[in-house]
């Protein structure tokens, strides 16, 4: 079949659409759903600007078909903020000036978010390894690493308010 009816849970709400087989997940998000927070950078699986979480796992949405996400959960950068409150990873990038032009930022945020879900206290090498599939052409990696560390510290203190 060349056309498919899909239901995707995007940031917690179900989105239904009729899509072509060849439609990429990133185009589904940006064009079908008009959620333009997810960026298209290189479009060749290198830069990671299009990173989203698919069932909680960070992947490059330019290299996944929309139809592959049928019945699955997608989290985009728009899903980080809750009730008007920035997620600590977003706050970290703000506090530590983790962006310059901002193009890579949605991808960096999603990869950083996924890392902190698994590792609440990542070392600098662990952060650098985790973001090695996300390119920042402003070369602002030092502040990006600081931003993730800032978020990690915030998440840890939120989890253990007494300490």
């Amino acid at each position: 079949m060349a056309q498919h009816e899909i239901r995707v849970h995007v940031n917690g709400s179900e989105k239904k659409a009729e899509v072509e087989s060849r439609l990429l997940l990133v185009h589904f998000l940006r064009e079908t759903l008009a959620m333009t927070g997810t960026h298209i950078g290189c479009d060749t699986t290198h830069c990671g600007a299009c990173t989203v979480l698919l069932d909680g796992v960070p992947v490059k949405s330019c290299t996944v078909l929309a139809v592959q996400a049928d019945g699955r959960a997608v989290t985009t950068v728009e899903g980080l903020e809750q009730n008007g409150q920035l997620h600590p990873i977003q706050d970290g990038f703000w506090q530590e000036h983790g962006l310059q032009c901002g193009y890579c930022t949605p991808g960096m945020l999603m990869t950083g978010y996924a890392l902190l879900q698994k590792n609440s206290d990542p070392s600098e090498p662990e952060i650098r390894q985790a973001i090695s599939g996300n390119l920042c052409r402003c070369t602002g990696y030092v502040n990006i690493v600081k931003s993730v560390q800032h978020a990690a510290a915030k998440l840890r203190s939120d989890a253990n308010p007494a300490s």
Partner: protein
């Protein structure tokens, strides 16, 4: 970039997937298996390839696993690279495999990319082919008539060409469980994370109690139209004490087995020289690891 149009199928069982491959022009190669998609989708997007039908195997249960059984490590064809990367079993007992998984593309790609796909794509620039040659792995192909096993040595036929038939799916990889005093290493030179190898060497070996090399597999990535087994270097070292001189000579012989082509990653002479350097490093690291493991036991 948008791929050319195709029909998409999401079978729930292996039998259904094989049926789809068979009925949608398996003979003409008009149907392709979508596993991790991290090579296939870019290829379609860049319009370097086209297909009438994509058969997505991601909804079939039971294709992702890592288990030791009957003297072999069985890896499900759709096992993600990230699963190898984070497996304690792989890290402690299969260091060559762990080394390889860590340098394939980047962490995001490895969350989807699969071991079976890395092999079935038939790209000599991919990292697992050399690894599987060095291990002497067996590849299981499932087709309409059932399963057959293909030795890694017989699997890679040419550029993007493998022994896998268009109506078959690569369902499992079998690596012999390494005996005592074994070690392995994969050493890759890449310009940046995510790049294909400028050159890379895979080595798996077993030492005798007396220190001589009992068995060794040496293979090279991106050094010709297929992954290359450095048979001459293997023969040269087998039964010998691995002295610095012998390792250097074996590395030279490994480099002589390559036929790289010049591209943005370097000239032929440079790549061949890097193959020599990396082969020597991989042999040394494999010996160190075999020795460490022996001390632990």
């Amino acid at each position: 970039m948008i791929p050319p149009p195709f029909d998409y199928h999401a079978p729930q069982t292996l039998a259904e997937a094989l049926q789809l491959l068979q009925s949608h022009g398996a003979e003409s190669g008009e149907a392709k298996v979508l596993s991790g998609g991290q090579s296939l989708l870019p290829l379609l997007k860049l319009r370097l390839g086209a297909t009438g039908h994509l058969v997505d195997i991601n909804r079939i249960p039971g294709l992702e696993y890592l288990k030791e059984e009957g003297g072999v490590l069985k890896i499900g064809g759709r096992t993600r690279e990230s699963a190898l990367e984070h497996s304690d079993l792989v890290r402690t007992k299969y260091p060559l495999l762990a080394d390889t998984a860590e340098v394939i593309a980047d962490p995001l790609v490895r969350n989807l990319a699969t071991v079976g796909g890395n092999l079935a794509h038939g790209d000599p620039a991919n990292d697992h082919p050399a690894t599987m040659l060095a291990y002497g792995a067996q590849i299981v192909a499932t087709g309409p008539g059932g399963e057959r096993t293909i030795a890694a040595d017989d699997f890679f036929l040419g550029l993007f060409s493998t022994a896998l038939q268009p109506n078959e799916i690569l369902t499992e990889i079998r690596i012999p469980v390494p005996p005592a005093r074994s070690g392995g290493a994969y050493v890759k030179l890449e310009r940046k994370v995510g790049d294909f190898a400028t050159a890379a060497a895979a080595v798996q070996l077993t030492l005798k109690a007396s220190g001589e090399i009992e068995k060794i597999g040496i293979a090279l990535t991106n050094a010709g139209p297929t992954p290359i087994r450095a048979a001459d270097a293997e023969t040269f070292l087998t039964g010998q004490m691995p002295t610095a001189e012998r390792i250097a000579e074996a590395a030279k012989r490994a480099a002589a087995a390559t036929s790289p082509s010049a591209d943005r990653r370097g000239q032929i002479e440079y790549k061949r020289e890097m193959a020599r350097v990396l082969a020597a490093r991989a042999i040394k690291r494999a010996i160190d690891r075999a020795t460490e493991r022996t001390k632990e036991h």
